[in-house]
Amino acid sequence: MIKSNYLALLILALVLAFIPLAISNVYYLGILIFVGINSLITIGLSLLMGYAGQISLGHAAFFGLGAYLSGVLSTRLAVPPVSALLLAALFTALVALLIGLPTLRLKGHYLAMATLGFGQIVYIVFNAWVEMTGGPSGFGNIPRLRIGGVVFDTDLKYFYLVWGLVVVGLFFAVNIIHSRVGRALRTMHTSEVAAGTLGINTVRYKIQIFVISAVYASVAGSLYAYFVTFLSPGTFGISFSILLVTMVVFGGRFSVWGALLGTAVLSILPESLRIIKDYDVLVYGAVLLLVMIFFPEGLVGLIGRVFRPRSLPEKLRT
């Protein structure tokens, strides 16, 4: 299992390495960078949704914390970007821990509600704390990311940086899923009672996965800040949180590869189809509803059915 995932990762890395050679238009390269940034968030979110069986409606806020903390630290306090990124990730992890500790002990909707409320609070703070964030009009002049002597000032360099981190993020996620921790998480699909009697502390793993997924979002936020060099609150509202959930569900929430696929399709399609851009809310709502009712395993599940007819129900096989 883990070996086929490594093979897929290798193929992905090779394809990614050659993509910039095939794309001459800088505009498309820019879109792919955003796809990479979003993918980093959704990979973490799919760990939470597909494996820990929980949902966060506040991942845009963790993304925003990463972005604003990096931006503010680098511009106002002249913290080097990499240190700022790490500090932001650490802070976001602590915040996620504070939210997860009380709510993940309880069953059901609590985390969803807490993250929804938290996300909205963060959004309000971004708007209202004008001295620090520039308020609704935002703030700019965020320096470029610099690692050692390398400044990531072109789209080409940034493409390799972002997608390199996506590959690393996928590598971590795949390893977690195929480990002792991953097995412990998968027990929750069937029986938390049985898991408990085997000594598995499911609450602890749920909290850990929630924190990790927030860190993925925070790192993505920092990358976003150093790429666009300008931040305003509009990017980090509830609707982006819900779009992230839609990407994960659409691609297939039981697989990190689904997150990647869903993110790619839902990030690229609106760029090419004007109608999706104009009626985005309507389209996303319909997509989410149809996927949940008719193919809850998402695109990945659908593709799996086409290529592996063995997994079809008995009656459809002959």
């Binding site: 480990s179 002792r180 699909h189 069937t190 009672v193």
Partner: protein, 254 residues
Amino acid sequence: MPLLEVINLEKHFGGLTAINRVTFSIQPGQIKAIIGPNGAGKTTLFNVLTGVVPPDGGEIRFRDGDITGWKSHLIASRGIARTFQIIKIFGDMTVLENVMTGCHLKSKTGLLSAAFHLLPVWREEREIAEKSIRILREVGLEDRAQARAGNLPLGMQRLLEIGRALASEPSLILLDEPVAGLSGPETRELAHLIRRIRDGGTTVLLVDHDMSLIMDISDEVLVLDYGCKIAEGSPREIQNDEKVIAAYLGEEMD
């Protein structure tokens, strides 16, 4: 010194008393059976002992420590494993993965080391897999290791659940109706397995309705009726106990 001591244990559901001040103990190396008519509180007792539901009164001592009211994963980590009357295997995992999940307590890879998948993690995974194969051989499921657990027939699922429980290397294993739904030959196989488990150093507490099995393999039998202990003793003593006969005559004639 007893391995497990239960003192005046109580459990109520609303107005219903499921366990009524039950006291008993298990010596290490025993096979002890709990019998009683349907609704006597046997499964509830198992649920309380393994922390699935908290007790309402009394005390549970295990290996000389108080575990009353502990969460189930903590009780498991002290060395009590169990199976379920209504099977709770992880149906969407393979047979091997089920047993590997049972090794949770005896392995230690955490989230961060799992993410990096370095050499020690890789080594531990291999050890767990090898140990799980050994356990599957012990319960007779080795050739089904890669099958999807949910696709196994019932008898094999019961064996798998026992194997998964054994993987945590418990000092006490609780078997809830292990032969329910099994055929005659399968039941005899299982009786051998239970003896082998005991001979391997694990104390066994089981609940079942199969009297010939119970009388055959148990060292001691405890009888519950309406949540109360009505008798305790050797299989021979129990068979001749008037209260037991009365309780069973009211319930079932076989």
